[in-house]
Every structure is written in C-alpha cells, then in structure tokens.
Symmetry: C2
Subunit: 191 residues, 2 copies
C-alpha cells in the first residue's frame, strides 16, 4: 500500500530512507465506495489524495446541471481539488468514486511543514504540478485544434487504461461532447 506511493516518489526524486519515513508518517488511508463522494463542492479542502486502488473522477457541475470532468484518476495518480487545496478556498468540484477506491491522504498543513523540513518533497510536488500543467496545456490545445473524433482518438491513445474502465458518458463529459455524439463517433470508428 505504501509501496506504490514510494515507487511513485522515486520516479521523480531520491529522498533518503528517513525522509521517506517522514513523508509516509503523514499519510492517512481513506476508502470510498463506488458512487460515493470523496469531496463535495463547498467543502474546505484539507487533503490531496493518492490513489493506490480504484478509479475516480473529479467534475464541475454547472448551473444547468451539466457535469464537466476535470480529471480521472486510477492507481498511482494524485487527485484532489488543486485550486481549493493550494489556495485554501472552498471546493467547486465533486470527486466521485467510479469503482470502490482506496487512497492515501496528505494534509495541507502537514505538507507545508514538510516542505520546510524535507525540501526534496517540495521538489517532488513541483515536478508533479509541472507535468500536470503540461498535460493540461496539451488538453487546451486539443480543444482548440481538434474536432470531437480526433479528441476521442487522442484520449484513447493517451489513457488506454482509463478508456476501458470508465463508462463512455464520463469520457464524453471529459472531452466536451454529448454522450450521443460520442456514441456516433464510436460507431463511425467501427467501420
């Protein structure tokens, strides 16, 4: 359970055994059953979460009740409401489990303190945010450049393990197309 997050960290930085212990001591295990929520809008967000088992989605629900998927997360991904977490404002997102999920939570204050005590983790999170930033930029460019079919194909290529685990209408909400359009796109790809 801790092994997966340690492996993840080591892909970015090389903390000492002691530093790793400092970090893992801060983690709390959290479980969320399928269709249950890890986070609701309006909440004060105190944690960011690392998924070690399961699958979840973070989405924004607009005034008309339409859901817009900000992010999916499966094993070895971080999920949370970054905006609310880092700026310590109240959340605007739902985070809902698509499958029964198990996560490791890290607390905001603990993390800030850790940055001072063990700067290697500040680097780890800097690198994480940087790569998330780059991925988001790519998503923005796709939205600007590509039509729905091309975005769907790109999604399948980028996230094959998500595509097979998640209902299509969630993917539609991620890509910014209606479920009906996605269905038609998929039919057109069969031939």
């Amino acid at each position: 359970m801790l092994k997966s997050i340690v492996t993840h960290i080591k892909q970015y930085v090389k903390p000492s055994a002691e530093e790793l212990n400092q970090f893992t001591a801060l983690l709390q295990e959290v479980s969320v059953a399928k269709r249950k929520f890890l986070l609701l809008p309006g909440t004060h967000v105190k944690h960011e979460y690392f998924v070690f088992k399961g699958c979840l989605k973070a989405y924004y629900m607009d005034d008309k009740g339409n859901k817009h998927v900000v992010q999916f997360a499966i094993e070895n991904w971080w999920i949370g409401d970054f905006d609310a977490f880092y700026n310590q404002v109240s959340s605007k997102l739902h985070i809902e489990a698509i499958e029964d999920s198990q996560l490791l939570a890290i607390n905001y204050d603990d993390l800030q303190a850790l940055y001072d005590e063990a700067p290697v983790f500040e680097r780890y999170f800097r690198l994480l945010v940087t790569s998330a930033f780059v991925a988001q930029r790519k998503r923005i460019l796709s939205a600007l450049e590509k039509d729905a079919k091309a975005r769907y194909l790109e999604f399948r290529l980028s996230y094959p393990s998500i595509e097979t685990r998640v209902p299509n209408y969630h993917i539609a909400n991620y890509l910014g197309v209606s479920a009906e359009s996605l269905s038609r796109i998929r039919r057109s790809l069969k031939s």
Copy 2:
C-alpha cells in the same frame, strides 16, 4: 528593470538579499521587436522569460496553418514553452512580440543549480506553476461549459489589460473562435 522581477518574487516568497543577488545575477536581458519571434518551433528551449516591458503571445500552429494562442504575456508575466523547457524537448510553439518587448531570461541549467543552492526559488517556481495550473484548469472548464460569448466576457473580465492591447483576432485564437464570430459577438454586445 530588475526591480519589477524582484517585486514579483517577493509576492510569493521572502528571499534574503544575498539570495536575490544570486538569482538576479543569472538573468540576461533580451529584446524582441514587434512581430519578431522570441522562439520558433523546433528549437531547443534553454530559457524561460520574464516580461518587464511589452506584450507577447505564444501560439501553436497546426497542420492547416491555424494558430492557437496558448498564452499572452504582458509586464510581470513569465512566458516560454514550459513543456519544452522542463522536459528539455524541442519546442512546438511560436512566441512572437505583439509590441516591442524587453525580457529577462533565465537559463535551464542555471535554474536547476539555483534550486539546490537556494531552495526558496524552487518554492517560488512551484507556486508560479501551481497558479498557472489553476488558471489553465479554469480555462479548460470554460471551454467545456461556456459558449463563445460567455468565454469572451470572462476573458475581458480576467484580463482587461490584455484585451485592450491585443488585436481581436489574437483573442479569437485564444478563445477558440473565428475572428468573424468574435466580431459578431462584439457587435451583439454593443446593443
């Protein structure tokens, strides 16, 4: 000239005078005339740039020759090809001056070394990337949720100082609408 970047840094972190000197010693001044390029696709990106005078845009040009604006930058903004800079891959973006511009450049290797010597700057850049990440997430949600008119209104509210300095067709390329559509939107707002 250095004053503006020092002020910017101090809004995020509190480095010592010595640390600030360390940082500013690494900066090189760069000028780009209107319509000239700071960066072309295919280039090896060695620098990230802080604008202390002027206005620029970073855009991706697709196979059809359509330009998609990734970012504008005016005084006190950082601009560059983050993806190419951090992952040290070749650039996919054009960065072009919209007005005669003056920038401060920081070199990749220098910055990595500085992170070790003065971690306060690693924090500064972590915070910068974090806020850029949050801004991008907002942009993604706008693209998913809002129609062209609403996105334009949001842009005007978020970046009034850019809206007045930049030709409308650049803004259209940022919002993901045609220049013609933006013109019609603007007409509809007059009445």
